[in-house]
């Protein structure tokens, strides 16, 4: 490669159709690190021919390396990892960042093992210190932040979605596009993959999440929360307790062992606020808590707390909102 310095490399995430926004977020953070260290920023995109790569060019990277092939239409991480490892051995990047999505989290370790390098999972922040990447990730139910460094190269990490702002758009200096060839088009013959359906429930993308906890007496009472969610244009969430009770399905679970959500508004109804639940929602822009116990820990992180019986408070809230 012609570049003087080895790049910071972003692995582009997509869904077989379009580029996932986490790619632009990684580019935003990586651009900042690359500037500091005077390193080029590169993106590696393995996509099927239907994925549009135009937008990638306007997000401040020096180069976009891409391979287009039908074989990348399915999420086959071993095929992706094989092809990526070939490119990466030539590029010799200093750093590789991959989105901590389900695909990224299964691809990254597959790739790290081939490249024989260390990997840090699920980072929430990154910085450069004396030329080394410091990978910051929450650990032990988010009670601590571990600062991790990798002694091998490339320094690899997966990074959580919605931690960083997207890279600014700049149409004036589009990135150089470099097409590469697929070296292997057949993954493990032993795996067949077919798409069955789209997601039915994805609360991580909802602008508003209305969640219920132990304060709910029975499963049907989620209807009351649904009415509030409908009034606010949101989706339903639940604490671990109500999911285990079978009040609501696991797709809706918020917390350490469920989904992490970062909505504009989170409404916690009858949720006391155990640290494991807070881990999944504490970064919401605005939190409203409704609980009959004034000493419930949820009130400490709420912007608005209402002490009261949720069965009394929610209907009043709904009628005020729709008035």
């Amino acid at each position: 490669m012609t570049q003087q310095n080895n790049p910071i490399l972003i692995v582009a995430e997509h869904n077989g159709q379009s580029i996932h926004p986490i790619t632009y977020e990684l580019m935003g953070k990586a651009k900042e690190l690359a500037k500091q260290q005077n390193l080029p920023l590169a993106v590696l995109a393995l996509v099927s021919p239907t994925v549009d790569l135009q937008e990638l060019r306007f997000r401040g990277a020096n180069s976009i390396f891409y391979i287009r092939h039908d074989c990348f239409a399915s999420p086959d991480e071993s095929l992706y990892a094989q092809n990526m490892s070939n490119v990466i051995r030539d590029l010799e990047p200093e750093v590789i960042l991959i989105g901590a999505t389900p695909f990224g989290r299964s691809l990254a370790p597959r790739l790290a093992a081939i490249l024989e390098t260390g990997l840090t999972a699920d980072c929430t922040d990154l910085k450069m210190e004396e030329g080394h990447l410091v990978q910051i990730r929450p650990a032990f139910s988010e009670n601590i932040l571990a600062h991790i460094q990798t002694e091998t190269k490339p320094q690899m990490a997966t990074v959580r979605y919605k931690e960083f702002a997207e890279a600014e758009r700049n149409e004036k200096e589009p990135s150089e596009m470099i097409e590469l060839q697929t070296l292997e088009t057949v993954g493990h013959q032993a795996i067949k993959t077919e798409r069955i359906s789209d997601f039915i429930v994805d609360i991580t993308e909802a602008p508003v999440v209305v969640s219920g906890g132990r304060g709910l007496k029975k499963a049907e009472d989620f209807k009351l929360l649904q009415a509030l969610a409908d009034a606010l244009g949101g989706m339903l969430g639940g604490s671990r307790a109500v999911v285990e009770e079978g009040f609501i399905s696991k797709d809706h679970q918020v917390g350490y062992s469920g989904h992490r959500v970062k909505p504009v508004l989170y409404v916690a109804c009858g949720i006391s606020g155990a640290p494991q639940h807070l881990a999944g929602m504490k970064e919401a822009e605005m939190i409203i808590a409704i609980n009959s116990d004034p000493s419930a820990p949820i009130f400490q992180i709420a912007d608005y707390g209402i002490v009261g019986d949720l069965y009394e408070v929610i209907p009043k809230l709904i009628s005020e909102i729709s008035r």
Binding site: A139, I144, A146, D198, F199, K250, A289
Partner: protein
């Protein structure tokens, strides 16, 4: 470990289940001043996701000729977790334990597990939980599969055994995919995959009597160098641990629901741009 030789003589499926012993994360307390987990504040248990992997293996035993070996890397007391795996239906357990394995990151853990799997000889499937509740990385399953050069199906939500092999449903990208494995491979399981059974009394008795072989570095020496395992073999190092300040918001607490409260909350919603369905 000699039972492995027996397995080879009859054509039965051999399933290895990776198990980790972890603190009970729902109960464990955290010492914010020292920045460490107060391990005395809670007991240890088998990593909950690994129980789903084990259950899937034990269910296969019920419909096919299969043997299930639980493999765990940990301190000597982790023998307890292997006995629990046997009580829940595994046929045998193997403990990888050596001071030299201490401080392993996911890479060093994977390379050590791979050495043990090679030592065990042939297998059909390796099952693991999608992640552990203490480390929360979800990396070891894929790293082991990659090192063994076998295919992987991560985040299995349901599993079915059929003529072709194993068919799993997974949620990846923005959809549900059906993945079918027709040869040997690694599967990692989510909690949705099944409901782990409780240990049976007879199995508990069997587990109590069972000897758990302990494999150390020397025993694995044909497949593992000392420099590749433990703290020394770990490419990632924790340089510093920071305890984040406890999150507080300067929130406004209303002691009762009244018109003033409702008006203020509604005003805040509108100010935040949450106007869908909110009438101004």
């Amino acid at each position: 470990m000699f039972s492995i030789i027996l397995h080879k003589e009859v054509l039965i499926l051999r399933i290895i289940v990776l198990i980790k012993e972890v603190p009970d994360m729902e109960k464990v307390r955290f010492d914010s001043e020292k920045g460490v987990v107060d391990r005395k504040s809670a007991g240890t248990e088998v990593n909950p996701f690994d129980l789903n992997a084990l259950e899937a293996a034990v269910q296969m035993k019920e419909i096919a000729d299969a043997s299930v070996t639980a493999l765990c890397m940990g301190p000597p007391q982790a023998e307890k977790s292997l006995k629990e795996a046997i009580a829940r239906g595994a046929d045998e357990g193997i403990l990888l334990s050596d001071a030299a394995f201490g401080g392993s990151d996911t890479w060093a853990t994977s390379i050590t597990l791979v050495a043990a799997i090679k030592k065990m000889g042939d297998y059909d499937y390796i099952f693991a939980g999608e992640k552990t509740v203490d480390g929360d990385t979800g990396q070891v399953g894929s790293e082991v599969a990659s090192m063994l050069k076998i295919p992987q199906i991560c985040f299995v939500e349901s599993l079915e055994m059929n003529k072709e092999g194993l068919t799993a449903m997974v949620a990846v990208w923005d959809g549900i995919y059906r993945k079918t494995l027709t040869g040997k491979g690694m599967l990692t399981f989510t909690k949705a995959a099944n409901t782990p059974r409780l240990p049976g009394i007879r199995e508990k008795m069997k587990a109590r009597k069972m000897e758990i072989p302990v494999w150390d570095l020397r025993f694995l020496s044909e497949y593992l160098n000392e420099t590749d395992t433990g703290f020394k073999g770990s490419p990632t190092k924790v340089k510093k641990v920071v305890v984040p300040p406890v999150l507080h918001r300067k929130g406004k607490i209303f002691r009762e629901i009244n018109d003033a409260c409702l008006r203020e909350v509604k005003g805040a919603l509108i100010a935040r741009g949450i106007t869908e369905g909110v009438k101004k």
